[in-house]
């Protein structure tokens, strides 16, 4: 069955309208409708028999082109695959009609973005996505302030994109990207990269991310962080590929890496490290995940910045991995927040006995996050390290490795503070998160483990992309990945681990007597009389000593810098306001005359040219 991308987008918008109408009458049936429709859309995107055809239409001089490249297809599957899972998680929160409507619109605009092959439509859909996303971010009242920052950064990104497009148009007089006209212009490079760096929350422009992720609707955060941020890497590859990897090296090479890529890699590494540090110091579960998200996207940037096939493979692999585990983590955490009504880590604790399924999924999630073998997290880390080793980027390696070790720290903190430790008395009656939260997270964790056993499966798709981009593919089978330096066998290592674990576990069951279960309330009394067992958990400021060591880092936060700049602007405008609005009629008159004169003079000068 054949249909065009236009049809697809229209169907999605239609599904959104239908869902909104149904939701208006009954929220539950609306949610179910949304779920069913989203599954349908995913099916359409995934089923190989359905061929999505390109479409183009011309208005005046300009031709809008929509086509799905191999790269776009990868992202399409990623987005459309995650979409029903996220929608499923919203079922129990029973959102209002416009929530689903905007959700579908976001998907539509995302698909529009990744399928646009010309600059204007790309800009159009990209901005639409930001707008709808903003509307969903401020779905909860508490997020209005954070949403403001989000939309502000979105607008800055959009303006930068627009400016870049105009610049490109000024240079080539054409809006199509396939034209090779860009001979190493730094300005274009900067203007066309900035919106995606903002989207990926890379370090100096990340400031929207923590607050937005924290305050936005809990399930939507999963989509925002897990899925939408990946548009950034798509955009980067989309534009940078147009420049051509070899074209970029015109500016010179450092360590066999193009200078621009090297800079991006450093931005990524610093983002990864500082994000991880902030993550391990944060006291709020969503903020922790937000910083973790920033940090993980830093890896993708590193992989991207290396500009080798291994690096891009790593970046794409990590895109996949991160999409899966971060979506899952946010869904699990949303389930926990749904039950506890708090996001503070210090108010959680000991939930393992109350929420075992959530615990297991979260455990798989953090193992993947940490990149430890039986999950696919390792493969992506492996590829990135191999890329770094291959190019001998030792300082980058050090920073990235520090970041990935710091990931252990906040990953452990996440699971420890939520699930381990003594159960808070206030959480005595907590129940397991509702099924709509559990099913998607279970599905996703299954993927994480499965690809951990067969790391070569996703790599095959990625190889396709690499080849379509004209790069070398990575040698792999279903179970192994190998590089010029070495390789590993995912099935072997994971299955040996599982089997040894099984053997010891069976031995344990046979040899160990039935353990006497001890209430965790009577641990660590050290002979003292406890008056409040809730105070016993070591959870808040878990890494206080690091807080002390990284004190300088926290002091020099980027947000403060922005605040200072804002302060200067405020002061300037204040002065200006005082000059203009001084209450004297003469002054106003003079001002109007001055402005009119300026316009006239500029028209005259323009006319003269």
């Amino acid at each position: 069955m054949n249909f065009t991308i236009g049809h697809l987008i229209l169907v999605i918008v239609g599904a959104g309208i239908i869902t909104a109408i149904v939701t208006k009458f009954n929220r539950l049936s609306g949610s179910i409708t949304a779920l069913l429709l989203s599954i349908g859309i995913a099916f359409v995107c995934f089923y190989p028999a359905f061929h999505i055809l390109p479409i183009s239409f011309t208005t005046g001089d300009y031709t809008f082109i929509f086509n799905l490249s191999t790269l776009s297809r990868f992202f399409l599957m990623l987005f459309s695959g995650m979409f029903p899972l996220v929608i499923m998680a919203t079922v129990s929160t029973k959102p209002k009609a416009h929530y689903y409507f905007f959700f579908y619109l976001i998907l539509a605009s995302v698909i529009g973005t990744i399928s646009s092959q010309d600059l204007l439509s790309f800009f159009f859909f990209f901005e639409l996505m930001t707008l709808f996303s903003y509307l969903l971010v401020i779905y909860k009242k508490r997020a209005i302030k954070a949403g403001l920052v989000y939309i502000l950064m979105g607008i800055i990104g959009g303006l930068s994109l627009l400016l870049g497009i105009f610049y490109v148009f000024w240079l080539s007089k054409d809006f199509r990207i396939s034209v090779e006209i860009l001979k190493g212009s730094y300005a274009t490079l900067f203007l066309l990269s900035l919106p995606f760096l903002i989207k990926m929350a890379a370090m100096p422009v990340h400031i929207w991310a923590p607050d937005t992720y924290k305050e936005s609707e809990d399930v939507y955060t999963a989509f925002l962080s897990g899925v939408l941020s990946k548009l950034g890497i798509y955009g980067l590859i989309f534009f940078w590929f147009t420049w051509g990897i070899y074209g970029l090296s015109a500016w010179g090479k450092v360590f066999d890496v193009p200078v621009t890529g090297y800079i991006i890699a450093w931005i990524g590494a610093i983002t990864a490290f500082i994000g991880a540090v902030y993550a391990l110091l944060s006291e709020d579960v969503k903020k922790l995940l937000a910083y973790s998200s920033i940090s993980q996207l830093g890896y993708i940037l590193v992989g991207f910045g290396i500009m080798s096939s291994l690096g891009w493979a790593g970046a794409l692999y990590h895109t996949l991995t991160h999409t899966i585990f971060k979506t899952m983590l946010f869904i699990v955490v949303a389930g926990i927040i749904f039950r506890l009504n708090t996001t503070k880590l210090s108010e959680m604790g000991g939930l393992i006995k109350k929420m075992p399924v959530s615990f297991l999924t979260l455990l798989v999630g953090i193992i993947a996050l940490a990149g430890v073998p039986p999950t696919m997290g390792f493969a992506s880390k492996y590829l990135i390290y191999s890329a770094l080793f291959e190019k001998k980027l030792f300082l980058l390696t050090a920073v990235v490795f520090a970041a990935s070790t710091a990931a252990f720290l906040y990953a452990y903190r996440l699971i420890h503070n939520i699930f381990l430790g003594p159960l808070k008395t206030s959480l005595k009656n907590t129940k397991e998160a509702p099924l709509p939260f559990l099913i998607p997270s279970l599905i996703l964790s299954l993927f994480l483990v499965m690809f951990g056993f067969f790391p070569g499966v996703p790599l095959e798709w990625i190889n396709n992309i690499l080849m379509s981009l004209g790069m070398k593919s990575i040698a792999s089978t279903f179970t192994t990945i190998s590089t010029s330096l070495g390789g590993f066998n995912g099935l072997l290592s994971s299955s040996i681990f599982i089997s040894i674990f099984g053997i010891i576990f069976i031995l344990y069951l046979i040899l160990f007597p039935k353990a006497k279960w001890v209430n965790d309330k009577n641990t660590f009394t050290a002979g003292e009389v406890m008056h409040n067992t809730d105070l016993l958990t070591y959870s808040s400021h878990f890494y206080r000593f690091l807080e002390r060591e990284f004190g300088l880092l926290i002091k020099l936060s980027v947000k403060k810098l922005y605040d200072n700049i804002l302060g200067i602007f405020e002061w300037m405008f204040d002065v200006a306001r005082k000059l203009l609005y001084h209450g004297n009629v003469n002054g106003y008159v003079w001002a109007i005359i001055l402005v009119t004169l300026t316009f006239v003079i500029s028209f005259l000068i323009g006319g003269l040219r």
Binding site: E283, K344, S346, F524, T525, A526, G527, E528, M530, H531, N532, D534, L535, L536, T537, Y538, S539, S540, H541, F542, Y543, R544, F545, E547
Partner: protein, 388 residues
């Protein structure tokens, strides 16, 4: 005043204050009474944010043996074996003080030789206590070699004690009127050769511990007691001298044989952990000098002046306060006699009470969990001495 209200709050741990406390994300950390980092049966309840302490509350009383009450139930001589048990690392101070108090009350003269022997015992106990202290402090910092060495060397002193008094720890050697037995044969010779060995050994300690870079890194600037604070909290002993105040009871109000001995009062200026350790380390050498002088000047003669039959011994009515310098600080006994066979009241002024409760609570505020037990050890707190 502020502290008082805080304490009141913690005492009224009802449901009301919970909400207030919850807003600060501290956790409650019990260090002790069952904890390797505690000097004895003693607890500190800490409110900590991460590993930073925002409030410390000393929690003594786990070793309360009601010594002061027990002493009222016992005859005067029966208290002699009891008093030394107040503090393990340095029990002789108690014996000396108790005997001095009874002697002052009854007017029993102490023979000159007995005075010297007592001083020798006190100084030997001081050396032993310092070796104990060095080992304990090194152990809290994780260096377990030094305790093994210093406890081994302390055992040589204990061997001499055993030879002199018949026991290693609780000597029960001094009693009103003098000491129980004269020095055994060749005792001073053995003591002298031991002192020479210890002089060499302390140099070896320097190498592994006192001069070590890591030790300085861990201890400098930790738990600072400045001069004003030292006076405000009535800090005594080496802890006071570490803050730069040259106060030593042995020098200021000499007792026993100290008037005849020449020695320097050691001081350091910083008042931090490092100076507290270094004051003791330097005093160690000074004490060796004192002991050498004592051996030289030891007179001959009787060692004990008899008192009445202990079972029916009645001490004259009156009260007295005596004090000596111990390794922990000023040790004092206030004895009240009502003229009967048993003391009416004995109050022990132990230095650990002031150091271990008020000062410790103050010092621990703002410290890290890793520094709790080093600070506690550096103050030389002896919990049995708190819980008399």
């Amino acid at each position: 005043m502020k502290q008082k209200t805080e304490q009141k709050k913690s005492l009224n741990q009802g449901g009301k204050n919970m909400t207030e406390e919850k807003s600060i994300d501290f956790f409650e950390y019990f260090i002790g009474p069952q904890h390797p980092g505690i000097t004895g049966n003693f607890g500190v309840i800490l409110n900590a944010v991460g590993d930073e302490i925002i409030k410390a509350q000393a929690n003594p009383g786990y070793l309360h043996r009601a010594f002061e009450k027990l002493m009222e139930q016992r005859m005067y001589l029966q208290n002699v074996p009891l008093v030394c048990r107040i503090c393990v690392p340095e029990p002789d101070v108690n014996e000396a003080l108790y005997s001095m108090a009874i002697e002052t009350l009854t007017g029993i003269e102490v023979p000159e030789r007995a005075k010297y022997i007592r001083t020798i015992v006190l100084e030997m106990a001081r050396l032993a206590a310092y070796l104990f202290y060095f080992g304990g402090t090194a152990a809290t910092l994780g260096l377990y070699t030094l305790p093994n060495w210093s406890f081994g060397d302390r055992d040589y002193i204990l061997d001499l004690f055993e030879e002199l008094t018949g026991a290693r720890i609780y000597h029960i050697y001094m009693q009103p009127g003098g000491v129980r037995r004269d020095l055994p044969k060749d005792f001073t010779k053995k003591l002298y050769s031991l002192l020479q060995t210890l002089k060499k050994r302390i140099k070896e300690y320097d190498g592994i511990f006192f001069d070590a870079a890591l030790f300085k890194k861990r201890t400098k600037g930790v738990g600072v007691i400045n001069k004003d604070m030292a006076i405000e909290y009535s800090v005594t002993g080496p802890n006071l001298r570490a803050s730069g105040i040259a106060y030593d009871i042995r020098k200021d109000t000499p007792y026993l044989a100290y008037p005849d001995i020449n020695f320097n009062v050691i001081t350091e200026n910083e008042g931090d952990f490092y100076s507290r350790v270094m004051v003791r380390r330097r005093e160690f050498e000074e004490d060796i000098k004192i002991l050498e002088q004592l051996i030289d000047k030891l007179p001959s003669g009787e060692v004990w002046n008899r008192y009445p039959m202990p079972l029916n011994w009645k001490v004259e009515k009156g009260d007295v306060y005596v004090k000596v310098e111990s390794t922990k600080g000023e040790y004092g006994y206030y004895v009240v006699s009502d003229g009967s066979e048993k003391p009416r009241r004995i109050h022990v002024r132990g230095p650990s009470m002031t150091h271990g409760i008020m000062l410790l609570e103050k010092l621990l505020k703002g410290q890290r969990i890793a520094d709790i037990s080093p600070i506690m050890f550096s103050l030389d707190i002896c919990p049995p001495d708190i819980d008399r």
